[in-house]
């Protein structure tokens, strides 16, 4: 045990770890928002509700069907992703030519519906979700104690984030996607089914949110308002990073999580407002965002 700036290492690294965990979720969620925005030009306000659905779906699979965490990790993103595809086909498709603001308002309405339904059945108190047996416990690293589950969350979200970045920036499918973002008409002329690609992209973005929800279930309580709490912070993250770049969304997410964790050590009172304060600062100094291109 030693001290840094008069703070015991255990506390410092503990908060840093917590920050990294939060950062993992910020990164996964802002990545999903950026992917959806790139393709559909919509800010998906439902994203928080879909993250909450992911956590609840994991909880329900365990409670009613006895299916464990590892099954949920695969099944839940697919299930919730399918609900996303339905939403895209039923609602978002109809407003694709309208002002972006309508997309925001529509997805906000959908978020209210989903959150309201879950509150009806589960109330506003949280449901506990056990950490899977394989990831119980932790290891002592000398300067801090590292719980296994938290290490797993950070590692898994890093893999998923960079996997997504690789798929979009470095593969053929990704190049179709990027081309369709730039000029959908031209890409359609080459015989690529752009509307289907749009639908699947939305489904994929939603699945990312659901995956984040499953991973969050054992850490935070599973509650209907867990989505609306986090989505507003993620919006601030997205404003800071700018949505032009996938890598920007990932890096900003992790970085802001760490900053938040450090703030908890040094100025605990400011820990939940620090991200908003950074947003103000960035807007004043660099209005386009750290990785943004134009407005």
């Amino acid at each position: 045990m030693f001290e840094i700036f008069g703070i015991p290492s255990q506390a410092l690294f503990g908060q840093l770890l917590l920050g990294l965990i939060n950062g993992s979720f910020y990164a996964l969620l802002s990545l999903g928002l950026a992917v959806i925005f790139g393709m559909l030009n919509i800010i998906n306000f439902t994203h928080g509700a879909q993250y909450m659905m992911g956590a609840f779906a994991a909880y329900m699979l365990l409670q009613y069907l006895g299916l464990n965490y590892w099954v949920a990790l695969i099944v839940v993103p697919i299930l919730v992703g399918i609900t996303g595809i339905v939403i895209e086909r039923l609602f978002l498709k109809r407003i694709q030519n309208l002002d972006h603001l309508y997309g925001l308002i529509l997805t906000f309405g959908l978020a209210l519906i989903i959150e309201g339904l879950f509150r009806n059945y589960y109330g506003s108190s949280g449901q506990p979700y056990q950490i899977p047996d394989e990831l119980r416990g932790g290891r002592n690293l000398g300067f801090m104690f590292l719980p296994n589950y938290r290490a797993w969350v950070i590692a898994a979200s890093l893999v998923v984030c960079f996997g997504t970045w690789f798929a979009i920036e470095r593969t053929r499918l990704g190049s179709y996607l990027r081309a369709a973002t730039e000029n959908p008409t031209l890409v359609r002329a080459f015989g690529i089914n752009v509307p289907r690609m749009v639908t699947l992209t939305y489904g994929f973005g939603v699945a990312l949110a659901a995956l984040a929800g499953v991973m969050a279930a054992p850490i935070y309580n599973v509650s209907p308002q867990m989505g609306s709490d986090i989505i507003i912070v993620v919006f601030a993250v997205v404003v800071i990073g700018g949505m032009g770049s996938i890598m920007g969304a990932i890096l900003t997410g992790f970085a802001l999580g760490i900053v938040e964790g450090l703030t908890k050590v040094f100025f605990p009172e400011a820990s939940n407002t620090v991200i908003f304060a950074i947003m103000i600062l960035v807007l004043l100094v660099r209005p386009a965002g750290l990785f943004g291109r134009g407005v």
Binding site: L101, F108, A277, M279, L283, V295
Partner: protein, 322 residues
């Protein structure tokens, strides 16, 4: 209104005020008769929200800026007015003034930050700023945390009229809100309002015509925040309560809903929307969380098939400006 039907319908044009005049008279008659039929407290609540929605509409309907954080001005003005009336013992008119001035100050700061981005980013920034100030309200002492500021005295208006008497309060709130609504109408009907519409339609062109659009947007933003604050401060005295509900993001969503239901960019739409939504919440209160689901449903329906809103649709059918 047969003759008005012949007039060309130009949005924002000065020659078609007849529909507006008729609607204004109908509204004033309603407000005179209503307190004898409906609960004055319900009417006062609806009036405060009508002003809130009209202030919001000033920004969204006429400049095209969607603020998703108007609860910030409404709620903080409400807190400051309640605190001024209760702890400082200020008279009601000064308490409301203090709340409104707070909203104006917050509007200037938030405006300077938010105006730097457009469209969808603007909405996210205003939402984030409002959430930040919600968290501050949760933490600082004077707001009373979860309890809010309760039992706010209504006091004597100008030291003469006892606002504890329900009818006195009703007359005061009605006159105040009507005056503010008239002010909003004068703003959107002025040359300044024309420039705002020009910015909404095509900001680049407005810039090329030599308008400093950022300044116009900031002024509109501050006006909107100030008037939203006036609504919040008045609401604090009506209910004798300022609470976290008023600064929460659901309140920001509610004002979007009222404006959308009534009709974006119409003069009377937000008023009709506010009365409808407040009435709906009164009747649905026993159903608890279903209110959230129904609100969400109304949002979805409005965006998909009813984008003109009630008053907008009426105005379109009758070919008048409302």
């Amino acid at each position: 209104m047969a003759s008005a039907a012949d007039a060309p319908v130009l949005p924002g044009h000065r020659d078609t005020p007849r529909g507006l005049a008729v609607a204004a008279i109908v509204m004033i008659l309603f407000l005179i008769v209503a307190p004898f039929v409906l609960y004055p407290i319900f009417l006062m609540k609806a009036l405060c929200f009508a002003l809130f929605a009209c202030a919001f509409n000033l920004l969204l309907g006429y400049v095209g800026l969607l603020s998703f954080g108007h609860a910030l001005y409404f709620g903080w003005a409400s807190y400051v007015a309640a605190y001024a009336a209760k702890s400082w013992g200020l008279s009601p008119e000064l308490a409301i003034l203090a709340g409104t001035a707070t909203a104006a100050g917050l509007g200037i700061i938030a405006g300077i930050v938010a105006i730097r981005r457009q469209g969808i980013y603007f909405a996210m920034i205003t939402l984030a700023l409002a959430q930040m100030m919600y968290l501050v309200a949760l933490r600082v002492k004077f707001t009373g945390g979860e309890d809010g500021i309760q039992a706010v005295p209504r006091g004597h208006l100008f030291g003469v009229f006892d606002l504890g008497v329900e009818m006195n309060m009703y007359v005061f709130v009605t006159l105040l809100v009507l005056a503010a609504l008239f002010l909003i109408y004068r703003i959107i009907d002025s040359p300044f309002g024309e420039v705002l519409r020009a910015i909404r339609e095509n900001e680049q062109r407005a810039i090329s015509l030599g308008y400093r659009t950022d300044r116009y947007k900031l002024v509109a933003f501050v006006l909107s925040a100030t008037l939203a604050g006036l609504a919040g401060a008045t609401k604090a005295l009506v209910f004798q309560l300022a609470s976290l509900t008023d600064v929460h993001w659901t309140m920001s969503g509610e004002v979007v809903l009222m404006t959308l239901v009534g009709g974006l960019g119409t003069v009377f739409g937000p008023i009709v929307g506010a009365f409808l939504i407040v009435a709906m919440e009164n009747y649905l209160a026993p159903f608890g969380q279903w209110v959230l689901v129904i609100q969400g449903g109304i949002f979805v329906v409005c965006v998909l098939v009813f984008r003109r809103g009630i008053v907008g649709e009426l105005a379109h059918r009758l070919r008048v400006r409302l």
